[in-house]
Subunit: 220 residues, 2 copies
């Protein structure tokens, strides 16, 4: 049986996973709100982000409390420090989902994404959901291989981000400046969302191995 | 006289201030590179960002080492946890300066900023420099009043960010989609740079008072 201290550590991990679930739901609903110009859904994503912030505050408080009371060393210390860093990344992912929802709200009742670019944004939303789901699994499983895989999944997001710019700049199908601003910002939000998922995965690698992910990635 | 442990804590603070100096220099030079389409300067900012990343890694290592060896509580613990969070913000500010430099490099030899929007970008660069300089002072001084002031300075950046969008959307002076993309991204980089300066200032408030800045800001 685990002692109370290790149960507290497990609870930290459980709450991080809960954050990935909230953030996954947020980006999924924000994507739908954006693509369907659904104002009610957009508003609900914006409001729900408070729960992510609250969870982050709670996690940070618990992590600091464990540091003060248990004075952990070695891998336990790494778990707690990684938690403090991961909570910041996950909170930011929540903000980015909220930004996508706000972009939907700003243009309502018009859609913020021009029809020819919808398919790419749909795909970005799917990649974002997949990344955050995998991130949640990796936080639970501490599976280093799966964590390193997330970095490769992020390449899909970067490819989609570049594809959007290429499409926007296609002179044969000119877009308005307004559409260019909206799509640039939204695309950037998805890209950053994915970057933070990668950052969380890297921290899992660090807490398991004590090595930075980039050192491991360099070995074949 | 301070004991070795408190000297180590002071050294953490000193290194955070050093990060603000590097990042301040980076955003200043990136702004010049952007406005003057100066490729050599842009490249130098891009390369120099490695030093910021290295300093962050070193700081995090030292902070973890102090946690493990000294098992701090109360305000010392807050200093170390805040350091771990602040190093992430400052590292990100370095990335954002590098992104501004990359925007300059991407359009070289053309300027990335259309002439009528230059004055606003000049001002954004100045606000960014002022914010990071104040952030460095606040990290040293632990002056809560000055830290709360940084939040108000950030309003200037938000105002400039909105002004750029208004200018981009002015139908009487149409901009190209390419210019709209470049300016949207660059403006977003400056705005995020300022947000991270605010986040650092808030962490100083937390480490001094044990309260979140937003709780204090709500009291008159």
């Amino acid at each position: 049986m685990r002692d109370a201290y290790h149960e507290d550590l497990d609870r930290l991990t459980g709450q991080l996973v809960e954050m990935t679930r909230l953030v996954g739901s947020a980006i999924s609903r924000a994507s739908t709100a954006l693509l369907d110009a659904d104002l009610v859904l957009a508003e609900s994503v914006i409001v729900a982000d408070n729960a992510v912030d609250t969870l982050r505050d709670e996690l940070d408080r618990k992590a600091m409390d464990l540091l003060a009371r248990q004075q952990p060393v070695a891998s336990d210390l790494r778990v707690i420090v990684a938690t403090l860093k991961m909570s910041a990344d996950l909170e930011r992912m929540g903000d980015l989902a909220r930004h996508v929802a706000r972009a939907a709200r700003r243009r309502f009742p018009e859609p913020a994404v021009p029809a020819p670019l919808r398919a790419t944004i749909v795909e970005m939303g799917q990649v974002a959901e997949r990344l955050v789901a995998k991130t949640g699994s990796v936080i639970s499983s501490h599976d280093v291989e799966a964590a390193l895989q997330i970095e490769r999944d992020d390449d899909d997001m970067d490819r989609l981000h570049r594809a959007l710019f290429t499409a926007l700049l296609d002179v044969s199908a000119p877009y308005s400046v307004e559409a260019a601003i909206d799509v640039t910002l939204v695309s950037r939000y998805y890209e950053r969302f994915a970057d933070h998922a990668v950052a969380v995965a890297r921290r899992v690698v660090f807490l398991v191995t004590g090595q930075q992910a980039r050192e491991l990635a360099e070995t074949p």
